[in-house]
């Protein structure tokens, strides 16, 4: 075991896969000479050269489409968006070209590509730079969507995403980049796409979260433990295909479900989980499902407003108390 940041884990995953397979290449804004806008691709240009680590102009729609063409021709591009906020310029290509061509071609044209970059709110960057796209991409059949939390998730799932023959949306988080986690010394850590991880076992309530919200959920679980509420924390890891079996199994143990996401509630991941709990676990529920989400507003800049807008550990703990019918 060694301590490693999420940033380094992502870099190692890409470097290992690029060593393993000459068809893998990295393309995006500032990925080469600048070493990544968030320094995720540090050292890759030196090792792999300018034909495998490619700086693009600021042209998201264009380079997303060009990357998809690379994949259709059989290469395995990793396409970095400086943040997923900018990928909205390219969302037609991601959904219509990457997500649907296999189906429209009757299975003839594959698109093995990873779109990766930071997703969700960073810190004080205001509404246009602070959006969680998990439910946007999770909506689309033909795409796989991953949202890692720890360094282990980042490395093991990015390697799996690069090897996957399908288009994969890989939603990172800027605040997590610098955080250090223990990681087993394993050059070939590949985690299964579509499997959630139980980060903390508990009997009383299931809290499902992904990405940085897993940290908030774990924090809430500590608070709840002090109060005698034993929370189980499920890290979804993959948004699509969603590991509903693990969620329902956990619900079977606890009878109560709280869903946490950084995105808005409307048609969000929590809404999906609540529907799954109703459809597949109605008899297991001892209380209505609760969602903890961003408030229904663009994300504000002011520190106090931003803090109030995003899910905090206290709000998660309060929701857990509610579904356990504990009054404070």
């Amino acid at each position: 075991m060694a301590g490693i940041t999420v940033r380094e884990a992502l870099r190692d995953a890409m470097a290992e896969e690029m060593r393993r397979d000459g068809d893998v290449l990295l393309i995006g804004e500032e990925v080469a000479q600048y070493q990544g806008a968030y320094k995720v691709s540090q050292g890759l240009l030196d090792e792999f050269g300018e034909w495998r680590v490619i700086d693009t102009p600021i042209t998201e729609h264009g380079f997303a489409g060009l990357s998809i063409g690379l994949a259709m021709a059989g290469l395995k591009p990793i396409t970095e968006f400086m943040t997923f906020n900018f990928a909205m310029q390219a969302i037609d290509q991601i959904v219509n070209s990457a997500g649907k061509t296999l189906y429209m071609s009757g299975g003839k044209v594959r698109c093995p590509i990873v779109f990766r970059g930071p997703n969700g709110a960073a810190a004080r960057v205001a509404a246009q730079h602070s959006q969680d796209y998990a439910s946007w991409y999770g909506h689309v059949p033909g795409l796989k969507v991953i949202a890692p939390f720890s360094a282990e998730d980042a490395k093991g799932l990015l390697k799996a995403a690069i090897r996957d023959p399908n288009p994969v949306i890989f939603l990172e988080n800027e605040i997590l980049y610098g955080q250090t986690f223990d990681l087993p010394d394993d050059d070939d850590l590949v985690l299964p796409i579509g499997k959630a991880k139980i980060e903390r076992e508990g009997r009383d309530v299931t809290i499902v979260a992904y990405s940085i919200m897993v940290a908030k959920a774990l924090q809430a679980a500590e608070t709840l433990a002090d109060e005698g509420i034993d929370a189980e924390v499920v890290n979804l890891r993959t948004i699509r295909p969603m590991d509903t079996a693990t969620v329902i199994e956990s619900l079977g143990r606890t009878g109560r479900l709280v869903c946490v996401e950084e995105g808005w509630a409307f048609s969000g991941i929590g809404a999906e989980l609540a529907a799954v709990a109703m459809e597949e676990g109605f008899d297991l529920l001892d209380a209505p499902v609760r969602r903890v989400t961003a408030v229904d507003a663009p994300l504000p800049y002011a520190a106090n407003l931003e803090d109030a807008a995003l899910p905090r550990a206290e709000r998660i703990a309060a929701a857990a108390r509610d579904v356990c019918y504990v009054k404070t």
Binding site: G65, L66, M104, I193
Partner: protein
């Protein structure tokens, strides 16, 4: 052939040569052109009929009038080169060698369709023949084509990609984003703007500040060529040069094919934005197949019997395709949920 600010050497000859000096092609090739253009024409006419009979549904964009473009271009490239097109793609698929039966069965939405009946008219694909679709969003195939060309260069193949789009797509931002990258990285791509004069119902001059589409790559250092797309020999000659340019490593080239579509934008378009006289005049005076037939006769490349034989062969291939497309079964309902993602072992 008019040429614009070409910084490169190879294509300059064309500018010096002038409009009508394309060297005559061999008789056999003329007959290949004739067979190819007639196949596309008769196929599309049959599609129109079958659409009218309710055998084909949805959006369906016919290529009638533009046949010289794909036939002449295909003859000037190799089978290992790649082609990508918009939704008006039946002709592009046929000239790549996709079986008319498989294309027609796709249009009728049947199991033997080239995309198993799951794509339809706008989504014909056959990557084994280097045909990458068949794309329904105007302009979206342009960056895809540059990506395919990038892969060709990455693999050090000596192949190129013909990336077709209509003059309507020539107003889309992603086309220019692609021009920039393709020129920056000297990708082996020939951009082909098929200017059929109407973007759906909008005439070129109503939607374009600057109607000289062949100049639209200039700011990116991409040389442009304007070609009479109703004359298959000129298309062929221009494509030989454009392909040589793209293959030389000097980067992309833009070819504007000036052409005309006889039918509406799609089957549901009565085309009231132009006069019947305008269409009739072009059909009478500029039809690419009539023009080729005259050339063949003038040069004595083939006698009438030979041409009639080609006509009969094409008609029977199209009739066979139409019949096949009606007998082929509808896709099994299980196909609804296949090909969404590639299954993985894990």
């Amino acid at each position: 052939m008019a040429r614009t600010a070409a910084k490169t050497k190879a294509p300059r000859k064309a500018a010096e040569r002038g409009e009508n000096d394309a060297p005559p092609v061999a008789d056999d090739l003329l007959l290949d052109f004739y067979g190819g253009m007639l196949l596309v024409r008769r196929f599309e006419e049959k599609v129109g009929q079958m659409y009218g009979m309710g055998l084909i549904g949805g959006f369906c964009h016919l290529y009638i009038g533009q046949e010289a473009v794909v036939v002449g271009m295909e003859a000037a490239i190799g089978p290992d080169d790649a082609v990508i097109a918009s939704y008006r793609c039946h002709g592009h698929a046929l000239v790549r060698g996709v079986e008319p039966k498989a294309v027609m069965a796709e249009l009728t939405g049947r199991a033997d369709g080239v995309s198993k009946g799951k794509g339809g008219s706008m989504h014909i694909f056959d990557p084994e023949r280097g045909f990458y679709g068949g794309h329904g969003i105007v302009g979206a195939q342009v960056p895809l084509g540059a990506g395919i060309a990038f892969a060709q260069k990455y693999r050090k193949e000596n192949n190129i990609t013909l990336t077709f789009f209509g003059e309507g797509a020539a107003n889309q931002g992603q086309v220019y984003e692609t021009f920039n990258m393709a020129s920056l990285w000297k990708l082996p791509v020939v951009f082909v703007v098929e200017n059929n004069r109407y973007a759906m119902g909008t005439a070129v001059a109503r939607a374009k500040a600057g109607t000289e589409l062949c100049h639209r790559g200039e700011a990116f250092g991409i040389p442009g060529v304007r070609v009479d797309g109703m004359d298959v020999e000129k298309v062929y000659a221009a494509t030989l040069e454009a392909a040589a340019h793209a293959r030389s490593g000097e980067g992309p080239i833009l070819v504007e094919m000036q052409t005309y579509r006889y039918r509406g934008h799609s089957m549901s378009d009565p085309a009231k934005y132009r006069t019947r006289d305008e269409v009739q005049k072009i059909r009478t005076e500029r039809d690419p197949i009539d023009h080729l037939r005259e050339t063949i006769a003038r040069r004595g490349a083939a006698d009438d019997d030979r041409l009639r034989q080609i006509d009969r062969d094409v008609k029977s291939r199209v009739a066979e395709a139409a019949e096949f497309a009606q007998i082929s079964p509808e896709p099994d309902l299980s196909e609804l949920l296949t090909d969404i993602t590639v299954e993985t072992a894990a």
